[in-house]
């Protein structure tokens, strides 16, 4: 082994509290070390030249640079090794600045610490092997589950970009819930026209295959090449998809779960969705009295729906507005907890609706009693602290969004997780809101939690562009720091497989050992730490590297 050690002074930053000369002299005599130099600025041009010259002239096969923290000068030194025809993964950076010279004052002590840090690097690097960013072939096709506005948006983008798209819809017709909405706020458009436009676009594209009345019955494989079995009207169909976007939407809350709402027992009590459908055919007196109840099936811990459904306040406003527009002399009262008119323009809409005459009462509704003349609502006005009892001709329940009916099935089929509310769980609630833990599987739209049309479109397209980024080349490069299995050692206990968050480990029933699907591995090393016989190892962090680092720190080897 021919190791080159280059110790940076970083001007005074390291040299001031670390005896760099002593270190370089120490390592000069160390077995396996061919070059040991200290230099004022290793990152400077002459510093880099010194390294590449040493690599060429001395034939170094390991390079250790003891300088600032590895995250600084990101690719600089790696590129340097590449230029010198040395695999960049044979480089070891040792931080003797952020982790040594800057955090201690005593030269002698720091020098000793730096020595051990470099020693650890040296021991560890002895186990380094050249690594490659491996290329894996991926299928340039996407499976989109759910033909609602989110799924359609994703399909629209991906097909426009030339990718093969398989759009699977459980219902006979595409369009999800949006197609049934008459007046989408704030676009003020008919939902059907929006959907029709999208479908029309897709229909003309050769690379789009739409499977209506179809469900997924089988799902195997890994990122880049998922093997999917569809249960279509024509029978089973198998296809390969590089990635999947799940956009199965939501199911409307069923108010029957709360019998006190009297829903289903009286025709005069309807949901916002029904109002959308039947707004024109509703039989109402000339001066109708209409009550709108907010938060039906939302913010209700008792029925296990503690979350806010995000869209129902706006839906309630739409109902109020529609009635006021049609019946100028109507009496419309909205019973709410908080008016969450948060979307762009929502607050203004709320104000406008108030100006149109819709009353907003912050209330706890206690009872709904249908009577002959109307429906009597009893409750407490929480602003004035009064008990009220009023009669209405129509009660509209602004229902929330519940998880999609197929949530559990899909989750277990695709090996993804559900959150506590049984929506799909995102990889990170802030920065990866439409990703799952499994690479290449996305959750778009309201299947991961309530969303309005704009947000669902954003989700659909954003997950599509991400998937496109993964697949567009037809191949993908795999991070070199991933796990690999030594099949001779593997006992096939499948503990790693159970623990793997990325679901990147697959068991071979025949050989009774596991293997790593490289494209799916995230490189966390959990499997490595889980395997008692270390049959699975994380490249770049294999056991003996870390063991030897410990030994170097303890001077025990």
């Amino acid at each position: 082994m021919k190791t080159g050690i280059f110790i940076c002074h970083c001007g005074h930053n390291i040299k001031h509290t670390v005896d760099v000369k002593k270190l370089s002299n120490f390592f000069k005599k160390y077995p396996g070390v061919t070059v040991s130099n200290d230099y004022p600025f290793v990152c400077s041009e002459p510093g880099q030249d010194m390294i590449s010259e040493s690599i060429e002239k001395q034939g170094l096969d390991r390079v250790i640079i003891a300088s600032c923290t590895p995250s600084l000068h990101g690719e600089l030194f790696k590129d340097l090794l590449k230029k010198s025809d040395l695999n960049p993964f044979l480089l070891r950076r040792v931080s003797i600045r952020e982790h040594c010279s800057w955090v201690g004052d005593d030269i002698e002590i720091n020098t000793e610490k730096a020595r051990r840090l470099i020693l650890a690097g040296l021991y560890s690097a002895a186990h380094y092997v050249p690594l490659e960013e491996k290329r894996v072939e991926v299928t340039k096709s996407a499976l989109i589950i759910g033909g609602g506005v989110s799924g359609l948006s994703a399909a629209d983008f991906l097909s426009k970009m030339g990718m093969q798209v398989y759009l699977v819809e459980k219902e006979a017709e595409l369009g999800g819930h949006v197609k049934n909405l008459k007046n989408i706020w704030p676009a003020r458009k008919d939902g059907k026209s929006i959907i029709d436009e999208m479908i029309e676009e897709l229909a003309g594209r050769e690379n789009v295959e739409i499977f209506a009345s179809t469900t997924i019955s089988g799902f195997e494989g890994f990122f880049g090449n998922y093997e999917v079995t569809l249960d279509t009207l024509e029978g089973e169909k198998k296809l390969t998809a590089g990635g999947v976007i799940i956009a199965i939407g939501f199911s409307p809350f069923d108010p029957r779960i709360k019998p006190e709402l009297q829903y289903g027992k009286d025709k005069r009590i309807i949901t916002t969705l029904e109002f959308e459908h039947n707004a024109d055919t509703l039989q109402l007196p000339e001066k109708p009295r209409v009550a709108i109840l907010h938060c039906v099936g939302s913010r209700d811990e008792q029925i296990g729906k503690p979350y806010c459904s995000r869209v129902c306040c706006i839906n309630a406003l739409r109902v109020g507005e529609a009635i006021k527009d049609k019946y100028k002399d109507s009496y419309v009262e909205s019973f709410y907890m908080d008016v969450r008119a948060h979307p762009r323009g929502g607050e203004e809409y709320f104000e406008d609706t108030q100006e149109k005459g819709v009353l907003f009462t912050r209330a706890n509704v206690a009872e709904i009693n249908p009577s002959l003349t109307g429906i009597v609502i009893r409750g407490e006005d929480t602003l004035f602290g009064e008990i009220f009892e009023r009669e209405f001709d129509l009660v509209v329940l602004s229902i929330g969004m519940s998880p999609p009916v197929d949530n559990k099935l899909t989750a277990s089929l695709l090996k993804i997780t559900l959150d506590k509310d049984k929506f799909f769980m995102e990889a990170h609630i802030k920065l990866r809101p439409f990703d799952t833990a499994v690479k290449g599987i996305f959750i778009a739209g309201s299947c991961s939690g309530p969303k309005d049309v704009e947000e669902s479109i954003n989700h659909g397209r954003a997950s599509a562009v991400k998937l496109f980024g993964f697949l567009n080349l037809g191949y993908a490069y795999v991070d070199p720091f991933i796990s690999y299995v030594d099949p001779k050692r593997c006992s096939g206990c499948r503990m790693c497989e159970q623990a793997c968050v990325a679901k990147a480990i697959k068991y071979d029933e025949e050989k009774r050992v596991v293997h790593v699907e490289e494209a799916a591995c995230m490189g966390c090393g959990l499997c490595n730490a889980t395997c008692p016989s270390s049959a699975i190892s994380l490249k770049g962090y294999i056991d003996c590297m870390i063991d030897d680092e410990i030994s170097a720190f303890m001077e025990a080897i």
Binding site: C10, G74, M161, A187, E426, L431, V453, E454
Partner: protein, 896 residues
Amino acid sequence: MNKVLVVGGGIGGITAALELASCGVSVTMLEEGPSIGGRMIQLDKTFPTLDCSTCTLSPKMVEVALNHNIELLSWAKPMAVKKAGQKFQVTILKKSRYVDIMKCTACGSCFPGCPVVMKSEFNMGTGPRKAIYIPFPQAIPNKASIDKREDRPCKAACVDACPIHTNVLGYLKHISEGRFTDAYMLIRATNPFPSVCGRVCYAPCEQVCNRGQLDDPLAIRDLKRFAVDRFDLDSLEPSQIQKTEKKVAVIGAGPAGLACAHDLAVEGHEVTVFEVLPEPGGMLRYAIPEYRLPKEELRKEIRYIERLGVTIRCGIEVGNDVTLDAIKNDYDAVFVGTGAPKGLLLDVEGENLPGVMDGLKFLRAVNSGESVETGKSVAIIGGGNTAIDCARTVRRLGSENVKVIYRRTRDEMPAAHEEIEALLQEGIEIQFLTTPVCFYADNGKLSRMECIRMKLGEPDASGRRRPVPVENSEFSISVDSVITSLGQATQTSFVEEIGVLLAKNGTIEVNPLTGLTNVEGIFAGGDVSTGPAYVVDAIAAGQRAALSISCYLKNEPATMTKAVKKPERLTEDEVVDLTAKIPRVGRIHMPEISVKERVTNFGEVAIGYSPEDAMAEASRCLAGHIEGCIQCGECEKLCEVRAVDHTMRDEIVDIEYDSIVLAPGFDLYDPTEKREYGYGTLEGVITGIEFERICSVTGPTGGDILLNGKTPRRFYFIQCVGSRDRQSGARFCSRVCCMYTAKHASIVKDRIKGAEIYVSYIDVRAYGKGYEEFYKSTQESGTFYIRGIPGEITKGENGLLVRVENMLSGEMREIEVDIVILATGVRPRKGTEELCNIMSIERDEYGFIKVDSITPSRTNVAGIFVCGMASGPKDVPDTVASGGEAASRCMEYINQ
């Protein structure tokens, strides 16, 4: 490869850029500030999971930096955009950062030296930063930049005039802003004798001070003394030094020798100083009188040098007690700084009479505490500083009739102007154009001196007019003693033994830049090589020699000090311009002890400034008048990789792009106009984002929630400040304030046990995933939610009084709290308007970029897309989704 421009480096821009890059597009990302990260990186935690914002965002930022498809330009913004067909011709302004990012190692060595303290934008002004800075440790690019906004009005002639290039601008800036210790440390960085120079320097800086062209030059020296007086040097611990195991001998413990020893010791060499006199200090110790330079001040400086590890061996005369050759053999290098300790002779009859004394010997005797009898009438011959020191010393010894005899006129007197003034004030007469010709004794004791009048003739070699005796003008003066002070000479015979070359006048011949003599390993500097000069020149010579000795010991070629720039004057135009801008303010003089009092003892004459006066005087400095970098050059000195380059110029480039994604982000509403809340006037009323920084572990308090150093216990949060509010022109809901308030409340609950927290709200809009639950748990953990927005905040007895009507109970409450946090709403980012104007993009009534809800990133210009808060308030996940959506539209556009 298609090219896309992404404007803005917040989470929206980062998302769009990363997505585009992964789709194989070449992305240029413009960030107006020094680092990407936007608002999100300023957050301490993110709701509803209370994730650390830095942890989640910084990997993304690093991804941007490492992605080969993304070119990141910080300090850059578009200036003009022209649509050419489907493409865009974009003119980009690349503001220079004055730091070469290829060289900068983010070590931060430059920050402490920078004298310009500014409010940190990253910390929303809750903490300071320097003019050269990295906004936060995780910044991308993690490189320093200099906040230079204006050109310096003066030419910093002071720095050029100073032989040791003291950072005058810098320490004046520090003093003017009350950072006296920083000022001292900055002085000390180049000067091992601040207290000496603060007192007895001849201040060449003041002579060239550009302000002097407007009114009076700055009192640069006196301000130095002020800084020195406020610092206790004995408490300064020398920093650790790495030893080189090289030995250097310094001969002569005067300013040159000690300065040299100081710098060599800092480099880690083992230094021994040989001094012939019983105490170190040279002329500073033995020639300059106590009333000008108290000896204790000097001792402190020398003590510090000793604490650096320098050994000073007094009472050893090299050449006598030990040979130079022996020293040369024992040490790796030798510096000779023996000065010019010999007084010159007058060469007139009677000069050897008792009662006629050499000025230097006289001063040495007095400074050594010997009693010297001078009698009643004393004449001092000479016109230099030493002569004046002698005269004033004699006056203090009790002689009543003290005269200075000088053969030319006052204009030719080499002594410092203010010294002459002080002399005259103390009642000492100067006889100009006079020179003694003979001394007479009575009973072996000096009694009389015969003088002759002179007149000025032709100029001599020194440029001064040569005095010529006036014939028959002899007259005599009765004197008890005479002190001659005619100039000094070197004593250099001891160096000849090893063959060091001497000049005719006995000075050692050296290379003036390196101090190297003709003998290898022997260096010299100060008066011994130049003949008598000033303290600061000697220090400079010592330092130069130290530098070349260090190089010599490392076997490196001697580094020549940078070519010295001549001090520049303001041009007349500049003077006119500045006169119009800057009001005339004369110098504030340093107070002195009254003449009556001062002549009775050796107490120091100058008393020193009060802090107020010092700050006022220092703030006259022209350089300090500007905002941002004052170009004092300190960072340049401190940067070892030479990454600082003040000469960088802004660059303007034209690049063609296929599409543009705008993600300029947002600002927060400035609640100053809401007088009822007292923001900006009442202490303790702050905004949410300021509170965020105070909470943040990366913030100015390291995560301790402190208000004026104390932990507040009672908190009042007010929501919807500048949102849902027609008054401030914002009817819209800002969408994030309800939740960030809940987050703040839960952070407070977590960090301050028993904190009392109130939140005023209209509606709690906890609409996102997990938000409602988070709001609930905040409420359940003991945060009082009050429905109703306070009418007024006033100052109460023990804090702030919030008057609010709780709409749910109907009661009017007056709540006393320690801190009020305003959940200020979202506004379009400053500069969005300009950005839209150059791209002809429409905005809505509030100034957000206009979009449509079915194609939420599409603007009115095809090919330009928008994401994030620029088109209206969004929380982080919505921003991420919109970033992706914008990228998707952008991909479609460029693939048409």
